[in-house]
């Protein structure tokens, strides 16, 4: 109904969608947040009022059209409202990463020229005040959590609620102005500006128009049949385009409810309480949860352990895909009485029929057995535990899966908070086949998508029923994808970004006049099913000294699929063999150490333990075997490796805030280690500077052991060494 009208441009902005939601779903919950141990909720009508008051308050403070409003804080309804309020008065919201250190924040605040900053709490206010001396254009700072801020100078600092109160008071005076500005919003006006995490160089401000956001939200919601009944948990960084699309774009489009957790620490229990129906998480989150489940199963009793593994094996054998997936029924309307009766009747008939068949077959079997001699009877020998083989294989499988659902899958899904999931997505990195299979076999419809900020998330998505671990799906609705000769992927879509803010050169580099955008990723379409398969970053795919293909990410992902390995960095570009740095996973390896009475005092000590190194060596050698199977990539086998003495960390600049390895920086920082890997040494001393979370610096040093790993087949590179 309402959703058809968008083609005419009736809902050309988020505030327009908000107005529609108030009209149609006014008393349905729009936002929930756990606060003081209780889920507080706001209906669409209440949320709209909060937003309006804040917007009027901002007007009273003198906000202009086109001003940038920076928003820094964790996922809270108030922060989402601030974004919509800014849009309502013609300003542009700029959400920032809340865990950014002062220097990063300074750059972004400086670059976007924000006049207004909305902060979550004292921590963020402190950071803003610290940069305020250098950045003159910040005029007003709003904060939501009052705590600890009473003694601050309040000449330019305001409490969020005070500003809303001011807006309420100034209602009559400023309402017309707000209406005028809201009416000025078109499909082409800027909706939001998001800073990319910046794997290379400074972050860039990606300008997204209302068209980008609304069209992408519309297409993706229709693709997955999202409706007003969904529940999502908003916990991903607000500065990330994914959160903007899920928690604002799609939530506004569909009118579903956005739930905000109490704090980052309570995330898992909040997830369980809400039980989202639509969920997004990077592979790392799924990986951590799986590791936790496995560790706890190791500690469980024998019976539980046996049941768990029996049913998980069964589900992974394909039964999960077949019988577990949630039915794609979207019930927006209540059933009529007649439908209910019919449904109940069919259900009862079904049960009756099944019972009758079982009894009948049992009697037949008994008679059959009696009637025949012993030598004939052996042919009745049934293979299943009950001694009855009554049903066709598939039906039996179905019953067994339901049984597992009651005993294992259901309770486990509930514990993980996935009890109600209808659609789940993972993206950002490749997900391990084991992990992927685990979740899908339990009946969680986990799918992969491929996207980026510049595309307003969606480039390719996996449709239901066509989900594979090693591809990222088919082009999303409305998206055209093209592959260049060198393997780089290009796309064009309604979600294609407008420009990089104040950076025409970069814009021109990335987006050509026809609207095609270079992703910087290399990939190809699978000939069999038309799904896109990503190999690596286009610039990371290189050549080894002897001309063989070098795709580090491909090997790293295979390594990272082991729970023991948290991160891996593979080197080998222009070299004659591949080598690797490995980060162990403290949770998994620490658990192993506890189980085997291995004492360790620190991460560093555990990482250097000879048994740990040997285990990792086994993993590396298994990976080598599997890499060798692919002829094109067989050169990427790892000949030598070492285990790093510290975790690669965003605070040290070794990773981006979204936890992607910055290869260049790692390469420079650990140059002596790389030299040692290629120089044939068996150990190497290194001293490294580390930055703690509060910005202080320290240094750690270690002597790292370097091991050789067995490789399969062509070892030409080694011989040359």
């Amino acid at each position: 109904m309402a959703q058809d009208q968008v083609a005419s441009g009736a809902f050309a902005s988020i505030p327009a969608l908000l107005a529609r939601n108030v009209k149609e779903y006014g008393d349905r919950p729009a936002y929930r947040e756990k606060e003081f141990g209780i889920w507080q909720s706001w209906t669409w009508a209440e949320a709209a009022e909060e937003i309006q008051n804040l917007a009027l308050g901002l007007l009273a403070l003198g906000i202009n059209r086109g001003d940038h409003v920076a928003i820094i804080g964790r996922n809270r309804p108030a922060h989402y409202w601030a974004m919509v309020a800014a849009q309502k008065v013609g300003a542009v919201p700029v959400p920032l990463y809340q865990d950014a250190v002062v220097e990063e924040m300074e750059y972004v605040l400086e670059h976007c020229g924000a006049r207004f900053v909305v902060c979550g709490d004292q921590e963020q206010v402190d950071k803003v005040i610290e940069v305020q001396d250098k950045i003159q254009h910040i005029e007003h700072v709003l904060y939501y959590d009052k705590r600890g801020l009473r003694k601050y100078d309040h000449s330019h600092l305001h409490w969020y609620v005070d500003i809303q109160e001011e807006g309420r008071v100034a209602h009559a005076r400023l309402e017309d102005e707000m209406a005028v500005r809201e009416a000025e919003l078109t499909y082409d006006s800027t909706c939001v500006m998001l800073y990319t995490s910046g794997t290379t160089g400074r972050p860039k401000g990606v300008v997204l128009s209302n068209r980008n956001i609304v069209e992408s939200a519309k297409n993706s919601s229709e693709f997955d049949n999202l409706g007003v009944n969904e529940d999502i948990l908003a916990y991903l960084p607000m500065a990330w385009v994914g959160d903007f699309i899920f928690s604002l774009g799609q939530a506004m489009w569909c009118g579903f409810c956005v739930n905000c957790p109490e704090s980052a620490d309570t995330l898992m229990s909040d997830l369980r309480e809400i039980g989202p129906t639509y969920y997004f998480a990077p592979p790392r989150v799924f990986e951590t949860q799986l590791t936790n489940v496995m560790i706890r199963m190791e500690d469980s009793g024998d019976l539980k352990y046996a049941i768990f593994h029996h049913y998980m094996e069964f589900a992974k054998s394909g039964a999960g895909e077949k019988h577990g997936m949630p039915k794609r029924k979207v019930t927006t309307q209540k059933k009529t009485l007649e439908q209910k009766i019919r449904h109940g009747f069919n259900y009862a008939m079904g049960i009756g029929f099944a019972a009758e068949t079982i009894i009948e077959n049992g009697i037949r079997l008994a008679f059959a057995k009696l009637r025949h001699g012993k030598n004939v009877r052996k042919h009745f020998k049934a293979k299943d535990p009950l001694g009855l083989k009554l049903y066709r294989g598939s039906l039996q499988e179905y019953f067994k899966y339901r049984c597992g659902d009651v005993l294992v899958y259901g309770p486990l899904k509930d514990t993980l908070g996935f009890g109600r999931i209808r659609v789940g997505y993972t993206a950002g990195e490749a997900i391990g086949p084991e992990i992927f299979a685990f979740y899908r076999s339990m009946g969680i419809n986990l799918k992969q998508l491929y996207g980026q900020t510049e595309a307003t998330v969606f480039i390719t998505v996996q449709p239901d029923g066509e989900v594979r671990n090693d591809t990222v799906g088919v082009p999303a609705p409305g998206v055209e994808v093209r592959i260049e000769d060198n393997g780089e992927i290009f796309y064009r879509s309604p979600g294609t970004f407008v420009e990089y803010y104040n950076n025409p050169e970069s814009t021109a580099d990335t987006k050509d006049p026809e609207g095609w955008v270079a992703t910087g990723d290399a990939g190809f379409f699978d000939k069999n099913n038309g799904h896109l398969r990503i190999i690596d970053r286009a610039k990371d795919v290189g050549k080894m000294a002897d001309g063989r293909m070098f795709a580090p990410k491909y090997v790293e992902n295979k390594l990272k699929f082991y729970p023991d390995i948290l991160e891996a960095v593979v080197f080998g570009n222009d070299r004659n063999m591949c080598t690797a740095f490995i980060n162990i996973d403290l949770t998994a390896v620490g658990n192993w150490a506890e189980r085997n009475n291995v004492a360790y005092g620190s991460y560093q000590e555990l990482a250097g333990h000879p048994d740990v190194v040997s285990t990792i060596q086994e993993h590396v050698e298994t990976v080598n075997k599997s890499v060798a199977e692919d002829e094109m990539l067989s050169g990427c086998q790892i000949h030598r490796f070492l285990i790093l003495h510290k975790e690669l960390d965003a605070d040290d600049g070794e990773m981006t805030r979204t936890r992607k390895v910055r290869r260049k920086i790692v390469e420079e920082k650990y140059a002596p280690l790389i030299d040692a890997l290629y120089g044939g040494k068996s150990e190497q001393y290194i001293e490294t500077e580390v930055t703690y979370e509060d910005g202080r610096k320290g240094s750690i040093n270690a002597t790292l052991e370097i091991r050789d790993a067995a490789v399969v087949g062509n070892t030409q590179g080694m011989a040359a060494e």
Binding site: E35, F36, G37, I38, R147, G148, R150, K151, E262, S263, D265, T266, S269
Partner: protein, 274 residues
């Protein structure tokens, strides 16, 4: 410091108002048999201030706190609270007057959840009788809701939402300390006594705890008396410091005054006996 600290009330450099004296200890002497734990000590605590008691081990600091909280009865001397002399009281009566404390060795109920532990801090606010409690009707229900709300505010304030339902016995030391503080805070005290709130904590936990103490003082206007060994923390946090050694008071004043007091330096660094 230019402020006149003897005035009835004054404003500190960071903008807090310190009011008149709430707790005045006059010539307190406490003996255990022949051992004199506290010898003729007088000092006072003013409304809204953070008052530290420091001294080497065995100086009588905890005994002093126990006198304030009514657990020990001093043989000599008077305790004046809010302008009137306090008769000898049981600790629960003292608690009803608005005093709450934490302990040097954590004294929580290990088997109960964090939330239940904190709820016990509100016992003084519950008036429902046994029958009402048992059937959870009328006054009991209303009180429980009010008290739960108050506890949740404390939980939010001390940032322990994630362990709300965890049994205390399973928590690490640093968090237990925080839970104990939460229980004391749940009683909405006007005077809070903290016995070594930062003992055995790492730097980060100490920083967190310091922030909580300052925020408590700032947000709720709670007067705080604390014993602490970490000199850095004491000097940063407190408005006035009492220094004790062998049961005697050897210094009293602002952190700066105390730091430059020769007796205090001798007590801490030792004196050569040549």
């Amino acid at each position: 410091m230019t402020t006149d600290m003897n005035a009835d009330s004054y404003v500190t450099a960071d903008g807090r108002t310190i009011g008149p004296v709430v707790m005045d200890l006059k010539n307190i002497t406490l003996r255990f048999g022949g051992v004199v734990a506290i010898k003729d000590i007088s000092f006072n605590i003013r409304e809204g201030e953070i008052r530290a008691i420091i001294g080497p081990n065995g100086a009588g600091k905890s005994s002093m706190l126990n006198v304030i909280s009514g657990f020990y009865k001093p043989q000599e001397g008077e305790v004046w609270f809010r302008g009137s002399k306090r008769p000898q009281m049981r600790p629960y009566q003292v608690a009803q007057q608005g005093l709450a404390r934490t302990f040097q060795n954590i004294a929580l109920f290990d088997g109960m959840t964090v939330l239940d532990n904190i709820m016990t801090g509100r016992l003084n606010k519950m008036n429902a009788n046994l029958l009402q409690q048992a059937i959870w009707k009328g006054k009991a229900e209303k009180e429980e809701l009010e008290n739960r709300e108050a506890c949740e505010k404390v939980i939010d304030f001390l940032e322990i939402q994630h362990i709300r339902k965890t049994p205390v016995g399973r928590l690490p030391y640093g968090l237990k300390k925080r839970v104990e503080l939460a229980r004391a805070l749940a009683a909405e005290p006007s005077l809070l006594l903290l016995d070594e709130p930062m003992a055995g904590m790492n730097v980060e936990e100490k920083e967190d705890m310091s922030r909580f103490i300052l925020d408590m003082n700032d947000e709720f206007g709670t007067t705080i008396a604390l014993i602490e060994h970490d000199m850095g923390v004491v000097m940063d946090l407190s408005d006035r410091v009492v220094v004790m050694d062998y049961g005697k008071k050897i210094g009293d004043g602002t952190p700066d005054e105390v730091r430059n007091n020769q007796d205090v330096i001798d007590a801490y660094l030792g004196v050569s006996h040549d």
